[in-house]
Symmetry: C2
Subunit: 259 residues, 2 copies
């Protein structure tokens, strides 16, 4: 069944999905939707995702948006995905399954719990790390690049939430293991959150350093995710690295204009 | 296995979980954690949820927070939960399950897709309806009640996102059916989003009317959810209705002080 991934490598959730697909040898077509050119706002793209956001996928005749939902869906449908990505679920509605043969063998509540923890990280991500990161970057780097004023108060609030989230990942989610939830191998949550952190690479080096350097465990975790998904993590992130200089130039021009 | 639900009926995601538990005849203990009294910030509660937020659950020796993750977990573990709440999943990693007997019978990708749509609504909720609702109410009703200034710009942005989200639910998520996703019966997403909308009942009637009245499909949908989960929806919401008058008084007092 044909899988089309509509994405922009400048978008952190787009990158998470692309890395997941490549790492799991999915057969898919990458369809670039350039946010910077407003391609996500066209009527054609609204047919793919009525919310006009990337990433989105079409799998056969099935359309889906929201990156976490997409990661879960792909982990459940791409042939041969390793179990660690989204916890192989052996326990399914054991109680409504009374007529099912081998029912006893299917009851492994430990799996439901491991999967629940992945959901918990992904939900936490929305209102913490992602909200902080987007609030900070939208009102600094991207506001400047797109010729908008940017809200300094919102940028400061974004940075505060971003820093608090990074500290929380270190003190809680990374307890006991190289990956989130203390796991020895990555889940889809590692990809989603790591790609959020690496979005900081669009910022000036001094801003990156100020925000990231205090968090040595985060820096180490990113390296571990990178190496677990090599060479895809680096390859998919090339786009964001090559965007930093043009963004800097735009910022310099904007500064010049406002003088 | 003992299930404890740590919650405050004044919190919309707490209510969604309580209604779900009651509607599905779960055996559970409701442990009230009063946000207004700061009980979620105590060291004792940090043992339950290190993020210091309600709702949270403890099931046997398993601790979980984030309301959507909890709803999914409970839908997967409470005995006898009706399939419509979270889509009975018959297809599980079909391709890594080559050794499993009756493998053919287990492949029902339609179920994976239905479940993916539920995840999509829940993810969308975080950054749209919930963000708008919380932004609006925190900076109006609750700021006043807790003696804080409230940010008029944030309140206006919250109301804008809230109204846009209500319009989007009407034009997209409620297409084709009485429940979200065009379903004929509710999923956990109906509970999560409906409880968010009803949080507006803490606001003044004129503010409620201004925001809700243009959205007749939303008003009808709330009634349908209410009736599908009767009498629990009404019962769990009594707390929020009885809070409106005290909140009004606090607002009047605050207005008096600032004169």
């Amino acid at each position: 069944m044909e899988l089309k991934v509509y994405c922009d490598r400048m978008s952190q959730p787009s990158r998470a999905i692309l890395i997941f697909c490549k790492e799991n040898n999915a057969e898919f077509e990458e369809v670039t939707v350039e946010i910077g050119k407003g391609q996500h706002r066209t009527p054609e793209f609204a047919e793919v995702n009525p919310m006009k956001q990337v990433p989105a996928v079409i799998h056969g005749d099935f359309k889906l948006f929201e990156s976490h939902a997409i990661l879960i869906y792909l982990a459940s449908t791409i042939p041969g995905v390793a179990d660690h990505w989204y916890v192989l679920l052996l326990c399914l509605h054991p109680f409504s399954f009374s007529e099912f043969p081998f029912q006893d063998q299917l009851m492994y509540p430990a799996d439901v719990r491991e999967r629940a923890k992945v959901h918990s990280v992904l939900d936490w991500h929305h209102t913490n790390l992602r909200r902080g990161s987007v609030g900070y970057l939208l009102n600094t780097v991207f506001a400047v690049a797109f010729g908008m004023p940017g809200d300094p108060k919102a940028a400061a609030e974004g940075e505060k939430l971003l820093s608090a989230s990074l500290a929380r990942i270190e003190s809680f989610w990374l307890q006991g293991g190289p990956f989130l939830l203390g796991n020895s191998k990555p889940t889809i949550a590692d990809l989603a959150l790591a790609c959020e952190v690496t979005q900081l690479e669009v910022a000036d080096e001094k801003d990156q350093d100020r925000i990231l350097k205090p968090h040595t465990k985060i820096v180490k975790w990113i390296e571990v995710v990178k190496s677990a998904t090599a060479p895809h993590f680096e390859e998919i992130h090339a786009a964001i690295r090559s965007a930093r200089e043009p963004l800097k130039k735009l910022k310099a021009q904007a500064g010049h204009k406002s003088e």
